[in-house]
């Protein structure tokens, strides 16, 4: 009885300690009144008001959606483009956990966290777009399985993939909280989660394209083909990796203080490697696009405004950045790679919007143009994601090295041991006294 009481007290004090730790971690780190914070605060607070209006009075009050254009940028940009950008997670986990390319290990965590948050926020933004979001549980539980629906497949895969990504980065959460035993269990799940995650990604990256297969007579023939799913899948590879490069170049400035030595040293090498993969897949993608174009026999459309727009996308945003990547890798030019990644990302936005919004109902006399409130709410989602990302990166070992207890012994042998400088040593001794 006594022992039970002791255990109870221990549990109580432990949970108290955890609660206090958690509360202290909730507080923001660093100065509050930075330009980023001010902009984010304005965008999010106005965005919240707009979201309330949207739910109170219907989609028509904040969007330009119509009977002709049922899907706008909330689907075309937030979901379809956002998920393509999040493709880096499955490509990198494939490279590191399946092919064991250890070189890229240091960027896996940040990419997976990014991917996870992208799914939570951008796929979560789908709830804003749903007219009857309270029924979103219907395809998940209950007897309303629309098994022949691509949307059903994509919805399930989003959900399962979010779980897989959470498992993939959960060891970082355990390290943050200092849960050693749970860490062990979670780490052992990583490979299974990675394999499951890659499989799901293959299917839903292409599934997003398959959503548009039945819009056969509505999408301009230059963009519609039965190969949309394959094109979406292949382009998600370089979209995701370009995002890793692009985002990496920003986070290296913003989170300089959180970076591990290893990440610093290897970063250029990693970027060059990723750039090479991007160049390769982009030429494969270009080749596929050409094949699809020839296969579709759409020469007559080429000499029309839509044809020029098509060429802008293919030449300006696939061939050009692909060429820049190749050139940059050859000359080991890191800044050129960053430029190429930026153009590639713009090209992905262009491609996804072309299929889902711009070339959709290309014949309509009055085409959909997003309302400023739609754009504002999209920005709200983006900024909310960035703030949560910053919160996580500043607390958990995402960019920084995991604590010593969490590292494998073998890995410890390989890394250069951190030798404190003289002054630091003194501080250390003072503080222990």
């Amino acid at each position: 009885m006594d022992g039970g009481n002791g255990k109870y007290h221990l549990l109580k004090s432990e949970s108290k300690r955890f609660f206090r730790f958690f509360l202290s971690e909730l507080k923001p780190k660093g100065p509050l009144l930075t330009p980023f914070n001010i902009v984010a605060a304005i965008i999010i607070s106005v965005g919240m008001v707009l979201i309330v209006i949207r739910f109170a009075t219907g989609l028509g009050s904040v969007t330009n959606l119509s009977q002709e254009f049922p899907w706008g940028i909330w689907i075309g940009f937030d979901v379809v483009t956002g998920v393509a950008f999040a493709g880096g997670a499955y490509v990198l986990t494939f490279m590191v956990y399946i092919l064991r390319l250890e070189k890229y290990h240091s960027v896996v965590r940040i990419t997976v966290v990014n991917g996870f948050l992208a799914y939570v926020f951008y796929a979560g933004a789908l709830l804003l777009d749903l007219g009857r979001p309270w029924n979103v549980i219907n395809p998940i539980i209950g007897n309303n399985f629309g098994v022949s629906s691509v949307m059903f497949l994509v919805a399930w895969h989003f959900m399962l993939y979010m779980m897989a990504e959470f498992v993939e980065f959960s060891p970082a959460v355990a390290e943050w909280l200092g849960w050693k035993r749970i860490h062990k269990v979670l780490s052992s799940l990583t490979l299974a989660a990675v394999i499951f995650g890659i499989t799901l990604s293959t299917l839903h990256q292409s599934g997003l394209g398959a959503l548009f297969l039945m819009a056969k007579n509505k999408i301009h023939p230059l963009w519609y083909s039965e190969f949309i799913p394959i094109l979406f899948f292949v382009s998600s590879i370089f979209a995701g990796l370009s995002m890793v490069i692009f985002e990496g170049s920003i986070s290296h400035k913003v989170f300089r203080h959180r970076l591990s030595r290893e990440a610093h040293e290897k970063h250029d090498d990693i970027v060059l490697g990723l750039g090479r993969i991007c160049a390769g897949t982009m030429f494969v993608y270009f080749f596929l696009k050409v094949l699809v174009f020839l296969h579709g026999q759409h020469w007559s459309y080429l000499d029309t405004p839509w044809g020029y727009w098509f060429l802008v996308e293919i030449i300006g945003f696939v061939v050009v950045p692909g060429g820049l990547y190749t050139q940059a890798v050859r000359t080991r030019n890191i800044s050129l790679i960053k430029i190429a990644s930026g153009i590639t990302l713009a090209g992905i936005i262009l491609n996804r919007l072309n299929v889902s919004v711009i070339a959709f109902k290309w014949y309509a006399p009055h085409h959909y143009i997003p309302h400023w409130m739609e754009i504002w709410i999209t920005l709200t989602v983006v900024f909310a994601e960035l703030i949560v990302l910053r919160w996580i990166v500043n607390r958990m070992p995402i960019l920084s090295d995991p604590p010593a207890w969490a590292q494998k012994k073998k890995e410890l042998k390989r890394t250069i041991k951190y030798i404190p400088l003289e002054e630091e040593k003194e501080e250390w001794t003072v503080s222990t006294m």
Partner: protein, 284 residues
């Protein structure tokens, strides 16, 4: 019935996302053993009185249609009007437009919650308690029929349901019952096709020799006869003759294949790339 549902649910839960195979097979089977009903529209008989629109509004509690509104070729159904007459008042040609009630509807196969539902009798209906408002049915429908209430916080999808509720009670649809010119007739789809063919055969000079809806989108519940080419009546003539759900079957078929092959392949790759020293270690 319940047992079948149970088995169906089990099957779905097992594979999470199997494929469309089952549902398509089921729909085809239904088409074979139970005949779909349909409606034949003979546009040469329509005088544009819009009695059908009025009857429709009354039968479904929709606002009374404004009969003075000009009839144009661009007229479309809306959230408050499930059926409208489009046409040209000068040339005196009129066409009743509404949901086509496809044999294998794109909307129903697009719907992730089975809210859009092809009833075994033939009408395609929308079920309020299931719909989550994703509007994928609107993207997929080749005829742009489902209409969404953008100005409501509790929006519904609005479209013709071929008076499915009235059919249950043994009545015929409100519009066909009302039509004073017998321009629209209700019946088994097969019989209506025969009727349409015989009208063309007996009056070859009065009709274009084509039945719109016989093969469009794999065949529709509504079929049309016309005296002038269908594109001049505002019909889309570039609609596939194949059933629209077939556009996604190839993709959906590949899902179970990838879902089972990928993990095995990835695991094998993972084992194959294991460095020798690690292999030895694990053996020790």
């Amino acid at each position: 019935m319940e047992r079948r549902d149970f088995i169906k649910t089990l099957g779905v839960m097992g594979g999470t996302v199997l494929s469309g195979r089952k549902l398509h097979a089921e729909q085809k089977a239904k088409a074979d053993d139970k005949e779909f009903v349909g409606i034949l529209v003979d546009t040469t008989r329509c005088v544009g009185c819009q009695a059908c629109s009025e009857a429709c509004a009354e039968a479904h509690g929709l606002p009374e249609p404004d009969l003075d509104e000009e009839i144009t070729m661009q007229r479309k159904t809306s959230t408050t009007q499930w059926t409208v007459i489009r046409g040209d008042e000068d040339k005196e040609i009129y066409v009743k437009t509404q949901c086509m009630h496809c044999n294998q509807p794109a909307c129903a196969s697009a719907c992730p919650t089975q809210a859009m539902y092809k009833t075994p009798e033939g009408p395609v209906i929308w079920r309020e308690d299931k719909c989550m408002g994703c509007r994928f049915c609107m993207i997929s429908c080749p005829f742009d029929i489902p209409k969404f209430e953008y100005d409501s916080p509790i929006p519904k999808i609005q479209k013709c349901i071929m008076c499915w509720d009235r059919l249950q009670e043994g009545e015929e649809p409100a519009c066909t019952e009302t039509c004073p010119e017998e321009a629209i007739i209700f019946g088994k789809r097969r019989n209506l096709l025969e009727e349409a063919r015989s009208r063309i055969y007996n009056n070859p000079d009065d009709y274009v020799h084509y039945i719109y809806g016989e093969n469009e989108a794999g065949g529709t519940g509504y079929i049309y006869l016309s005296a002038i080419p269908f594109e001049e009546l505002g019909f889309r003539t570039d609609i596939d003759k194949k059933a629209y759900p077939e556009l996604t079957t190839e993709f959906l078929y590949s899902v179970p294949v990838i879902l089972t092959l990928w993990p095995a392949f990835l695991l094998a790759l993972n084992k194959a790339t294991k460095p020798d020293e690690e292999n030895e270690e694990s053996e020790d």
